[in-house]
Symmetry: C2
């Protein structure tokens, strides 16, 4: 039974792409077959995988707009790890799709027809609650929300959960919150500690025990199309992403 | 002559809101009269100013959709500093405006009618290149682009400048690049140094000499609705925002 997980938060720069990329690597290293889906027109996930979005000819855009088979745009980027890449024309998808009656379910339909045996599908989304993010949420059964351990990021979670509830009610009753992932945590900074404590207090057991610390090599690894798991394998952040993978496979 | 500056970058979390807020404070402390405009449905700028978006009844939404006078939604948040607040219903503005023939120019029209004498208008935008950001770019004469000193942020600048050029060609010939602002710079991290060097190499004199360092008190100040200029006034980031204000007033 394939697990389909959307990673979303309309607040920008909270670690959505970084989480999809590194969690994908961690699951693949554990022998799971993983498909990464890049729904962000900025194609940060595609770039992190070493692919040049300007060179990609068949992308999610054609899957969503022209019913191209998802399997025909896939690229294998590492053992057990596949990518459905994004291109910048995805930015036009939201407008182009607005006249389709099934505009919110295009990705869901494509994933149901997917002729590839995978254990996990991880979807990266843009920093907005538009149609591309909605497509991820109707295709998913589980939602992972990265929250940066800073004040401005904390404030956006309420609006996001209200939207998730509406999607659950009207479009996808199987959508459930998988968990809230604290990211860019700085244990030596009091404000970061305070935000983490508030997250754990408000969301209780919905917060993963894995906490991703702020670590410069996480931001540097994608320069050479590497995950922090290979670039800085013994580091706290690499260890935290491995812990997260275990929590997701075995349950919290 | 009022200077109208849009602060934009579709990459999330690069310091757009933080820059509008702290630059606004720095200009106001220098005696300039400043209007801050919050075009992001997440209303991070509104929150940073100590306003609760859930309590705001008259916001930019009514200005853009129902021709409400901009001056009627303003709030003074500090000496010389005014705010046009956002609410979450701005998220619906992009769809609601799509049938208006002048949808790209609603803010520009509202600013032209503004019955308030200000020296600077600073506009915060959401992390996307949708209609709200387009409205900021057609209303502005100058564009400031914050770029976080990390790999993923660097890669998005090319797509943004392509869009700016299109806006300049087709909608707002007076739109010019004011400058690129390096943010969250970590002088002790080699990767951060490398990204800054690349920014300065590629964009030359378009990069401000002011460089905003990564400093935890910048993220903490908005918790008490303060700018880093009052919360941690002698700090490197506070000093950098003052330098930025001087550069903008007097030219680089
Ligand atoms: N644990 C971490 N430590 C240090 N840097 C990190 C960490 N996680 C992510 N980053 C860096 O922070 C920046 C923001 O992360 P990322 O791009 O993954 O966020 P995002 O939510 O996907 O952003 P967007 O909203 O633009 O899609 C990136 O430059 C990334 O490399
Ligand atoms: N110089 C800095 N040092 C430390 N933290 C910073 C700095 N500048 C901004 N931050 C923090 O980084 C996070 C992202 O900044 P901010 O929200 O201003 O970016 P943004 O581009 O407006 O994000 P979005 O794309 O979601 O609108 C915030 O939590 C902010 O407080
Ligand atoms: Mg991303
Ligand atoms: Mg912002």
């Amino acid at each position: 039974m394939k697990r389909i997980i959307a990673v979303a938060n309309q607040k920008g720069g909270v670690g959505k792409t970084t989480t999809v990329f590194n969690l994908g690597w961690a699951l693949a290293q554990l022998g799971k077959r993983v498909l990464l889906v890049d729904l962000d027109p900025q194609a940060a996930l595609t770039m992190s995988c070493g692919q040049d979005p300007y060179q990609v000819t068949r992308s999610l855009y054609t899957v969503l707009l022209r019913d191209t088979r998802l399997v025909s745009v896939l690229r294998q980027v590492a053992p057990n790890l596949y990518l459905a890449p994004a291109t910048s024309d995805l930015a036009r998808a939201e407008i182009a799709l607005s006249t389709f009656p099934d505009r919110a379910f295009r990705l869901s339909n494509a994933l149901q027809r997917l002729a590839l045996d995978v254990d996990f599908v991880l979807m990266d989304t843009p920093p907005s609650l538009g149609l591309l993010t909605v497509n991820a949420m109707t295709a998913a059964q589980e939602l992972l929300i990265p929250v940066q351990c800073q004040f401005l990021s904390m404030r956006g979670v309420r609006a996001l959960l209200e939207m998730v509830w509406r999607i659950h009610e009207r479009m996808n009753p199987s959508l459930a919150l998988l968990g809230i992932l604290p990211t860019m945590y700085r244990p030596e900074v009091e404000h970061s500690q305070a935000v983490l404590a508030e997250l754990q207090d408000v969301f209780q057991n919905k917060v993963f025990s894995a906490i991703i610390v702020d670590q410069p090599s996480v931001a540097e690894a994608p320069v050479s199309a590497q995950s922090v798991l290979t670039f800085d394998p013994d580091s706290p952040a690499a260890q935290a992403y491995r812990t997260l993978a275990q929590e997701i496979i075995h349950g919290k």
